[in-house]
Symmetry: none
Subunit: 529 residues, 2 copies
């Protein structure tokens, strides 16, 4: 196994600086526990004294097994002793094994922002680190604006690091605070630091302002850095921080480093990524490296036929190493081999040379040209495939529906809207007609369908609508545009399935998606799965 | 100015391979025109013969000013002459100045996927390139799996490039097809290719599977590559392609290369990025490098004047260079001055201390918390502001509307749908009731409103609906979700305006957006502008 790289997570501190991110104390505790359970070395919990959430987190630190909780703060103020500095007192009071202190390393910043002498800045850093170490804590030094500072005045930037090192800092972390450095600069500057301070343990802290935070971190590791500061999913101010979720598999699988994580722990990296998205109520990025839903998805027909011959053709790693699995997509770009593969995955046995496969490929291409998108609606795809193969189930027959939407304004200017739908269905030879109201016409139609079907198919009570999306496919025709509706449904066991409908009429598109959702649910429920 | 780097956009071909992306022909045409207008060198339009959308795009290629449209395809099949190969015939038939041919450069792939001899693969590449050049087209050669191939058998990978070069390929593009290469590998291998084929013009094509597609492209440029293939916003299969939107500013502002774009063109890069998101009906990534809404956002507490003086402390480039502006996350006071600024921009004179401004700030905050998005619907914002200031115009009063949607299936299984809407309005004291049909309920409602209003407001004949978008704001409630409708309208002089409506009911949300669109048009038309 290769050299050890230490992982320092700042999701709860630097990540929380991002626009739109608002962790509760419970979020912070849950994320800290998950980081520990996953096997991250350092968990930076926040900045004591900065806000009530961070204070509450440190007052009730979650139990950790192996991670070190770190508290973040800044060097003592000018003209005070470290032991009398209220910021440092707050930091020491929260009783974490590790404290990370940020200090300035760009001389121009020392003069214009801090407005102290360069010598006093060095003393502020050395005193603060020394005080933390004297109190028995591990000190991490974040050298703010280090790369900009080094480019402006390399001598002073190195003096800053040397001061922190001499005072007992365990780690000297080089920060690309503005996120504008290039990997070649990072590599060169880290090498110069390494040559100047051969005994120091170096860390790196990058931001993604040129979309190179991961590459900058990797370049720093190649030049000798052994701690990486980053966040889960790269969340952070402006364009975000270095994404630990992308870095960890690369460090382990491509560079052979020891991150302290076992192979088994690595397979849980997708869970960690999704836990943070769930806490933030965000849809996961399906294109995320290693963990995105599309990271090992294959769409082109050319690729899929090669994929069957050997997965090395189109996958840079075995998806199982990061707990992921291969996904074959059905779409306009798909060839015969994608479709046969999909059918096999669904448990539908067809022969590669079956004539009906050609019809199905043609039908998919024609419908996708109209605006259908089967790759995100695999239940609708499965139903269409079964129909083309002559084995699709039928649970009811639509005779008519009507959706009515009415708005009236009374004499006081008060607005009343009502949506009502009627459906007429043939269910097992019997004609059934029902009517229901809803929040809108689609909701009313859904209610009327359920009212008609439930007495015949009680399994329907276990089906719920989870998500409803509308997309206009030809927006230049404005309200006459073609509409695509996608519905995600789930059952009581948590299974989910996706269906779609396309029509010029949004109600009709919704009806088709509802019809497929119901048919698919009944088919699966009756097959006992 | 530095050396020239050529930009080759594959949004419409490789980008279209991404899960969830399905461009219509109109989308492709609009994006190709925008890429040309922005100043991209090459626009790869698709793969002739692969699907109906690509064929329709090439059959009706948009007019371009400076970009070269490129068609993508593969080498001739084994055991055929290039002139008799149907794929190459399709490619030549679409009549683009440039043709990009993909060929295999990994010997293992040649044997297992193509199942031809290494020598035949070289002939397939040379014949195909030669045939394209003989037909007077510029040939670009995409060396598939080049980095994996080079790592496995450098001699053969170089032979492949040499064959394409000797046959007359203008560009040899090194593809990291699986996206798993590291920047240090890319740099080293590109340098070896450059040493082996010093006369060849090299390109790079990277994927983002380790979140390093941008860094890999930059490393290749540093090693001598002069063409970059990528996509707008990095869309593409699996984790996406190299993101041209992140690369272009870095190449120009940090590396001093000439991309053929002027400084003025660079300021329009955010517009290009948003146009592609709009076409895909996606919310833009607010954390995107250079163009994201948060890319130059700074948290509250910073003094704007200090920021202006010391912007180097917080920003790696001047946001104006990429057409962006600094965003200070607002306090209540800053919110007030923003709104006053916006009213002044609209020509509405209000005093900073006017009490009604406070009401307006409160209303905007409350409505935006519900899901309104006024920054994309400035006409609706203006109408709401006028209403709060007590000066909003009124052209009619709604008394009621009704939208009816009916679907019947006849005895032969044929489906009939009809949408009909009725409106009852008070126009200048007169009560008017009209009914109209449409493609769907919203289209019918639009038609009925126009029928009622046109005799009183003939200016309405000059108003057209340009775009109609629906977004579900609380998707977890499924069909009962809150719906936001945004409408873009235009007049005969080409002016455009955007309005919105939010409701649980999609018809009602649409009515509100239509109402604002009509009111805004009449107000502007009657003011003579």
């Amino acid at each position: 196994m290769g050299e050890r790289i230490y992982l320092y997570d700042s999701t709860l501190r630097d990540g929380a600086q991002a626009q739109g991110i608002d962790f509760s104390v419970a979020d912070k505790q849950a994320i800290a526990e998950a980081l520990d359970a996953f096997g991250i070395d350092y968990v930076e919990g926040g900045w004591p004294g900065a806000n009530p959430t961070d204070d509450a987190f440190f007052a009730a630190q979650p139990p950790v097994k192996t991670a070190r909780i770190s508290a973040f703060g800044m060097t003592r103020r000018a003209g005070r002793s470290a032991s009398n500095d209220p910021g440092l007192q707050d930091l020491l009071a929260v009783n974490t094994p590790t404290i990370c202190i940020v200090g300035k390393s760009w001389d121009w910043q020392v003069e214009t922002a801090l407005k102290v002498s360069r010598a006093e800045n060095l003393r502020m850093i050395a005193d603060s680190i020394g005080h933390i170490v004297a109190n028995g804590r591990e000190a991490v030094f974040d050298a703010e604006h280090f790369f900009d500072g080094y480019k402006a005045n390399p001598g002073y930037a190195l003096e800053v690091l040397a001061a922190a090192h001499a005072a007992g800092a365990e780690w000297l972390v080089l920060c690309d605070t503005n996120g504008g450095s290039m990997p070649s600069e990072v590599r060169e500057i880290v090498a110069a630091v390494k040559a100047h301070l051969p005994d120091a343990r170096l860390g790196i802290h990058c931001h993604n302002d040129t979309e190179q935070a991961v590459a900058n971190s990797i370049a720093a590791v190649e030049a000798g850095v052994r701690q990486i500061q980053g966040t889960i999913n790269g969340i952070g101010e402006r364009c975000g921080n270095a994404n630990l979720i992308a870095l960890i598999p690369t460090l382990m699988l491509k560079m052979g480093f020891d991150t302290g994580l076992s192979d088994e722990q690595l397979t849980r990296i997708g869970q960690l990524s999704r836990l943070v998205d769930d806490r933030l109520n965000r849809a996961p990025n399906r294109h995320a490296a290693y963990v995105g839903a599309s990271a090992f998805a294959h769409k082109g027909g050319l690729h899929v036929s090669a994929m069957n011959k050997d997965s090395r053709s189109y996958e840079h790693i075995d998806p199982a190493l990061v707990g992921a699995s291969r996904l074959i997509l059905v779409s306009d770009k798909a060839g015969r081999s994608n479709i046969v593969n999909r059918l096999h995955q669904m448990g539908i046995a067809v022969d590669d040379s079956d004539d009906r496969i050609g019809d199905l490929v043609k039908a998919v291409k024609e419908r996708e040209a109209l605006g259908y998108a089967y790759e995100d609606a695999s239940a609708s795809f499965e139903l269409m495939a079964l129909q083309k193969l002559g084995t699709s189930p039928s649970y009811y027959e639509l005779q008519s529906y009507r959706a009515l939407d009415e708005c009236r304004i009374d004499a006081h200017g008060k607005r009343f809207t009502v949506a009502e739908a009627t459906v007429k269905l043939k269910i097992g030879g019997e004609s059934v007609m029902t009517v229901a109201e809803g929040n809108g016409p689609v909701n009313a139609l859904d209610a009327a369908l359920r009212k008609a079907l439930l007495p015949h198919y009680p399994e329907l009570s276990a089906m719920h609508l989870n998500d409803y999306k509308v997309r206009i496919l030809t927006p230049s025709e404005a309200t006459a545009a073609l509409t695509r509706v996608m519905i995600e449904s789930r059952d009581d066991d948590g299974h989910k399935w996706n269906t779609l409908g396309v029509s010029h009429n949004v109600i009709d598109a919704s009806y088709h998606a509802l019809f497929d959702a119901i048919t698919y649910h009944l088919m699966k429920a009756r097959a006992g799965k």
